[in-house]
């Protein structure tokens, strides 16, 4: 959550209400469980850690005043590190999805490059799982576990195909309108 909030702030300084709106847009029904309080708590923690700073206060015509947060230099460093780090084979779908959204919004990374890097990571893990599976009897306990791991990695790889299609249709460098 902290990393995602930071990455969304990398695009432009923003207030908690707006951050929540963007998160909900990216998360769909999963975002409905996200309440405004969680976003404000996260922002307060990030401020204490010196990663964001309150830039100004907006006073809308109606409604309460809103604190507008911006990244500090340390915050920018952390976002860049988060974008660059591999997600690891265990990473869940939502985190990677938010990373793509944040990468595209902030312009800090090319979503397609992230997809490519993740695909390599997953296929290498799958290679290990498959080689181990071939060395074990399918009906053994080890073989059963390896089957489960391989199926999960395969599902992740198939989802990446969908990520690639969607983000390449949006990206400026993308070859949208493929012939496939």
């Amino acid at each position: 959550m902290q990393d995602v909030a930071l990455a969304l702030l990398a695009k432009e300084p923003s207030h908690g209400y707006d951050l929540r709106r963007r998160l909900v847009a990216a998360l769909g029904p999963l975002g409905e469980t996200l309440n405004a309080g969680q976003v404000y708590v996260t922002l307060t923690r990030l401020e204490k850690a010196g990663l964001v700073v309150q830039e100004r206060e907006d006073a809308p015509v109606r409604g309460p005043r809103r604190k507008v947060y911006a990244l500090t230099a340390a915050g920018q460093e952390r976002v860049a590190a988060w974008m660059a780090e591999g997600a690891g084979a265990r990473a869940d779908v939502t985190e990677f999805h938010l990373k793509l959204v944040a990468a595209a919004e902030s312009g800090l990374a090319d979503p397609l490059a992230l997809v490519d890097a993740r695909r390599r990571e997953l296929i290498r893990s799958l290679a290990e799982a498959q080689h181990a599976a071939l060395a074990h009897d399918t009906n053994s306990e080890a073989g059963l576990l390896l089957e489960g791991i391989a199926l999960r990695l395969q599902a992740d790889l198939r989802w990446l195909e969908a990520c690639e299609r969607t983000w390449s249709a949006r990206a400026p460098r993308g070859k949208g309108g493929g012939k496939g």
């Binding site: 690891g88 084979a89 265990r90 695909r119 290990e128 399918t138 395969q154 012939k179 496939g180």
Partner: protein, 276 residues
């Protein structure tokens, strides 16, 4: 005679002194300084023209070194089967070059191309393509006979290969008496009978259940260990992950090229959630 055709002849001479299919192509080691076994340069295949022009394969450059198992993946319609057909001389490129064993093959005449295909390339297809009226052994022998082997040599090689793929006891069965996985193993034995420079496989496990898929992948692993160069097209990530290298095709162009070293378990270890 060119240096390249001597290379191929050199192989057949070696074959003459060594009748055993079990010996395998062990003289070809990965890293051998003889250049790639298979090479594509700017390879393209387009269909139709003007408005309806479809570039099924669009400027592919690819080197497959000796002993490598290469998987070509991508969504359906990405051009991967067309690429395999071009690499195997089953289709002609509209542009670019294909080299096999140092010899350019895309502009050979039909007869020379058919001859090269028969001697130097083994094909494995999704739907096996066995001759229904021939036994397993006869199916395996046939390409050897067509390539000029004596009936005795063909018979010996077929028997050895069927043993190698675990079907020695099914040699006299017709394809209709075999399971899908067994039929594909016969097809693989057939692909190997002329000790090809490269085996090209198009969705080799596409019609098989998961147990038979495992058998086929194990067999490919053994072939690779024996130094056989292998190119397979697959949409199945699990099949691709057993290769040494995976290239992804998108809209007829190479989008990614990843080398795998599947032997380890470090990544698997990180999947475990030990919190003690």
């Amino acid at each position: 005679m060119s240096r390249d055709s001597r290379r191929i002849r050199g192989r057949s001479q070696r074959r003459g002194t060594d009748d055993s299919p079990l010996a395998g192509p062990s003289s070809r080691q990965p890293g051998e300084a003889s250049g790639p076994v298979l090479r594509a340069v700017g390879l393209s295949r387009a269909y139709g023209q003007d408005e309806s022009l479809v570039r099924a394969v669009d400027g592919v450059d690819l080197d497959v070194p000796a002993g490598q198992a290469l998987a070509v993946t991508g969504p359906s319609g990405c051009g991967k089967s067309t690429l395999l057909q071009l690499l195997g001389g089953l289709d002609r490129p509209t542009d670019g070059e294909v080299w096999l064993g140092g010899r350019r093959m895309d502009h050979l005449g039909e007869r020379a191309l058919a001859r090269l295909r028969r001697r130097a390339i083994g094909f494995v297809f999704q739907s096996f393509h066995l001759m229904d009226e021939l036994t397993a052994a006869e199916n395996v022998e046939l390409p050897a006979l067509l390539a000029g082997a004596s009936p005795r040599t063909a018979r010996n090689r077929a028997a050895g290969l069927l043993d190698r793929v675990g079907l020695a006891d099914r040699a006299r069965h017709l394809p209709s008496e075999l399971s899908g996985g067994q039929r594909q193993r016969v097809a693989i034995a057939r692909a190997l009978v002329n000790e090809p420079l490269v085996v090209l496989a198009d969705e080799p496990t596409g019609n098989l259940d998961s147990a038979a898929t495992h058998d086929i992948l194990r067999l490919f692993d053994e072939l690779r260990a024996a130094g056989q160069t292998l190119v397979m097209v697959t949409h199945d990530e699990r099949v691709a992950a057993t290769a040494d290298r995976v290239v992804s095709l998108r809209d007829g162009t190479l989008a990614d090229d990843t080398r795998l070293d599947g032997g380890g378990t470090t990544r698997l270890g990180s999947l475990l959630n030990w919190e003690g």
